[in-house]
Amino acid sequence: MQRLSAESVTLGYDQRVIAKDLSVEIPDRSFTVIVGPNACGKSTLLRALSRMLKPSEGQVLLDGQAIHSLPAKKVARTLGLLPQSSIAPDGITVGDLVARGRYPHQGLLRQWSPEDERIVQESMAATGVGELGERYVDELSGGQRQRVWIAMALAQQTPLLLLDEPTTFLDIQHQIEVLDLCAQLHEEQGRTLVAVLHDLNQAARYASHLIAMRDGEVVAEGTPSSVVTAELVERVFGVRCQVIPDPQTGTPLVVPAAPRRAALVG
């Protein structure tokens, strides 16, 4: 029994059903990445796993209990989420924003313990923003800002961390930076990470467990090398391709087929 799982959930917004009777288990201590074409339900699944979206049927289980029946603050001490879009309050410093990650551990009369202080410092150091504590978040670059948000999620000190498209809006250098950071958190701190990613090659390189979705269903899951095959990529994404070993890591690398027109010219 894994700590986080969805049991035959039906997910949707209003009347529109996005996934029906979907079951997923997140392996403990894995870096799980969910991939799939647009509108396949991958972000919806992540929202359900992070209790932002209540399934109309079935349930999401956290440590064997229905996640929606647990107190919000208690869940927030076990499961963290980096949402796709967050608003940095006007004029907030990096240190104060990261400190907000301690909220679920605090009370009205216990607002700031030495432990809070230490964890905030550690989280900022781990994400490489330790020097930016006094800077205003508005002044930072996109990549720095994303690392600050990750630092806030880290300060929450949750064994499980969910990330909704953490690399969107970042250029390639910052994408790699953020993913390297995730891999490091997974390997060095033993946290369970679940991320939604758009880039299949990045997913294959960084994930320890891959879930491929299409039309609200899980098409395949397992290690990247077992999941990412030419046949599956065509089935899930509708793209003809060749899969070769990544020259750097040996993980599968998807090379889309050249258009026929190019082949004719060549």
Binding site: L81, S85, D90, I92, D96, G101, L109, R110
Partner: protein, 342 residues
Amino acid sequence: MKAIRIPGGLSFRAEPRAMAVVGGLAVLALAAGVVLIGTGDFTIPPADVISSLLGSGSPAQDFIINELRLPRVLVALLVGASLGISGALFQSISRNPLGSPDVIGFGQGSSVGALIVIVFLHGGTVAVSLGALVGGLATGVAVYLLAWKKGVHGYRLVLVGIGAAAMLTACIHYLLTKSTLVDATRAMVWLTGSLDGRDWAQVWPLLVLFVVLLPLVLVYGRPLRMLEMGDDAAYALGVPVQRTRTVLMLCAVLLNASATAAAGPISFVALTAPQLARRLTRATGPNILASACMGAALLVVADWGAQRLFGESTLPVGVLTGMVGGVYLLWLLVTERRAGRI
């Protein structure tokens, strides 16, 4: 931010600058209150006012101060503080500086309630206050329900509120056309917003509500700070998003309605106080206490100005806040537009 730790595991966190601003504004509001008590046809020096308030003044001055002028100043302080908090809460919830109760229809709702009592029921002062209270609450509930779409979101709240304000303003004019000359005069006086002739009967309900709601607002102020980062981020941190928002909106509507019931629709204090307070504290979050003190100080100073600045004729305080606040709103619209937020 500085941490304050007390042995026994208690700890608090606050911005030193914000605390200094709260203290400074509170002193300013109280000092202006003392000056205002001394102001009138019969001028009393501040030292005498203070000794009377402390219970060691002459009987004649005691009567003027404690029975005639103190209630008016207390109403001003409480109304200003209530409006300041109400504005701070709404602006934080809607994440929009224009999401203020006098812009999004609650003041107008109270006016319609009060005017119905004046025009159709010919009720007395207490009845008019009750009408304003009911009108404000009803508008609050209606706007909340109309703006509800899987939870209340800032932009919707402001748009629905502005629409409601326009419709309610039409209702106010309709009610004025239906009234007799005597009632219409009375209605116009009420609509201006004034502190004239306020006595202890107005102080008590304001005070009770304020004392009950302030702790609730402060407790929920912590999760409200988290809500400013967006619903998802707040939810991820374990904030009960909808409950926080509903409780705080209810508090804000009640504070605004009780203030309006006591003094009429005093415009722009709820809009400006939180923003001025924030400029001083430079702190994130709703700045609840600073907004309360700023609102109180603003209204007391405005009331003093309305009594003294225009020679022999005294103005209702609502006229002064309206004139000054209108300029501020214009400035705000221009800067917000430049910043690309509207």
